[in-house]
């Protein structure tokens, strides 16, 4: 029982990272109407931008955490940086395709090209050798029922909840967020209502970029930084988006949890090497039984 609960805890941590990334992915899909294959590599960019800043600042660990306060400005810079890169790519690549009336599949293939380019640039700058934010030992806390959780992992789960609440407030309580939802509903109607949809798209890229940067940093805090780490997260993030219902940020978060928990808990019964396949089995079942996902719109 304790082993199950412990795997559940680990699953929630993994699910938080996948969910954070999937929220940005699904938000962009809802408004931009294509599957962005460059999202995973933007995650890698976020983790390395934070690494570049963090290693130049005072990297002394804070309290029980493996990283110090300097990670806060490092993460903020990474969020802004990835957001700006994503918005710039939209201006130089996707906007041209949009104006030509290109199909979603053309945009998706273009994003695959962007993904390869971003990954190559990251490898060029930071090299192929894995690095870490910090090398210290992160001693786990003992929780009730004998569960153990590292302080870094607690930080990841808190960050996920804080950003989910922030995204909710943005989408439902601000003018920008409502315009984003309106543009997602019907871009042509948004245009004739006087909403500057190009600005809304730019804002969407910024927000999706910021979210994936946080996911990247959170992953990096508890793991190694590799030039292809984000790309490896791409499929689980897509699985989370589809499981939750395409275009629904809360669905993506829930989908992320399903992905994280199912793959960790499954190791009770199957070899660890096969655990990454489990979310895709669930995904296949979901597509057969309920193609619109957990929270997707009907029809």
């Amino acid at each position: 029982m304790t082993e199950f609960a412990q795997l559940l805890v680990v699953g929630v941590v993994v699910g938080s990272i996948v969910g954070l990334g999937a929220m940005g992915l699904t938000l962009a899909f809802g408004i931009l109407k294509f599957a962005n294959f460059a999202h995973g590599d933007m995650m890698t960019l976020g983790m390395f931008l934070a690494y570049a800043v963090y290693t130049r600042l005072d990297g002394t660990a804070m309290g029980p955490f493996s990283v110090g306060l300097a990670m806060v400005p490092a993460m903020l810079i990474a969020m802004a940086g990835v957001g700006l890169v994503a918005a710039s790519v939209d201006q130089t690549v996707y906007r041209r395709l949009r104006r030509r009336g290109s199909a979603s599949i053309t945009m998706a293939i273009a994003s695959l090209g962007v993904a390869i380019m971003v990954r190559a640039v990251i490898q060029l700058i930071w090299g192929p050798t894995p690095v870490r934010y910090a090398t210290g030992i992160n001693v786990a806390w003992t929780l009730p029922f004998g569960l153990r959780m590292r302080p870094d992992q607690v930080l990841i789960v808190i960050a996920m909840f804080a950003l989910a609440v922030g995204l909710y407030l943005l989408l439902f309580k601000t003018r920008l967020g409502k315009a984003m939802r309106a543009t997602s509903d019907n871009p042509a109607l948004a245009d004739i209502s006087g909403i500057d949809t190009e600005r809304i798209r730019a804002a969407t890229w910024m927000i999706a970029g910021a979210l994936i940067a946080v996911a990247g940093v959170m992953f990096g805090v508890q793991s190694q930084l590799k030039f292809d780490a984000g790309f490896e997260f791409l499929l689980p993030m897509f699985a989370a988006v589809i499981l939750g219902g395409v275009g629904n940020p809360w669905g993506a978060l829930a989908g992320g949890m399903v992905v994280g928990i199912s793959q960790e808990v499954s190791t009770l019964w199957i070899p660890t090497g096969y655990k990454t396949a489990v979310p895709f089995v669930l995904l296949t079942v979901m597509l057969i039984v309920r193609p619109r996902g957990l929270f997707g719109p009907k029809g």
């Binding site: 509903d185 042509a188 245009d191 209502s193 909403i195």
Partner: protein, 252 residues
Amino acid sequence: MTPLLDVQGVSAGYGDVRIVHGVSIHVEAREIVTIIGPNGAGKSTLLKAVFGAIRPTEGRVILEGRDVAGLSAFQMVQAGAGFVPQTENVFPSLTIRENLEMGAYRRQQGVNERIDELLDRFPELARRPNETAGRLSGGQRQALAMCRALMLEPRLLLLDEPTAALSPIMREEIFAQIVAIRDSGVAVLMVEQNAREALEISDRGYVLVNGQNALEQSGAEMLANPEVGRLFLGRVESGAIEADAPGAEGSR
């Protein structure tokens, strides 16, 4: 006197298919003008070309003395026009109130006051401002769409078949609201299939056939015109109003 909207020889279509051929119409301030015609005559295409939803290939569109032909729909809103499409004219996942807020996206002040003012005209909407628009009936959606387009207080409102697929009671209510909109100082240019009811409230009307001007008369004159009656008001089944020159009949 310069008309509020002066459309001069506008041609438009989709891709290589030209549907509207050199059409000229005008709308005075505080006037309801209705465009009628057979299916495929190019009525909705003309409306979209006037508003900038599609780009005219020829002609001029003068709004309040300024040539606005070729401006985008977004720029037309800034120029003082509002447009209500025939279908998909609300944001289904947004509430009634949020839909109206989106209509006033460019407005900095007085948004809540304007929302209250417009909802006062539609008690059905005012009773449940937090209902999502996707759950509304066809008539309620149409009412909400008109309110949304009025949020920025346009001088000209373009309506594409505002009563299509509505019940007779709802049609009556929508037409009454269109009169109220005109009386509040907004000119209305609409395309309508329910020709008789539309002409009854119209100051003037145009008949479009094969994408060309076929007739211009006051609403009352059109209602009394036997040829219009025969073709569009269901009095006689056959006959035709000929366009000034032959042209390709469009499908949209």
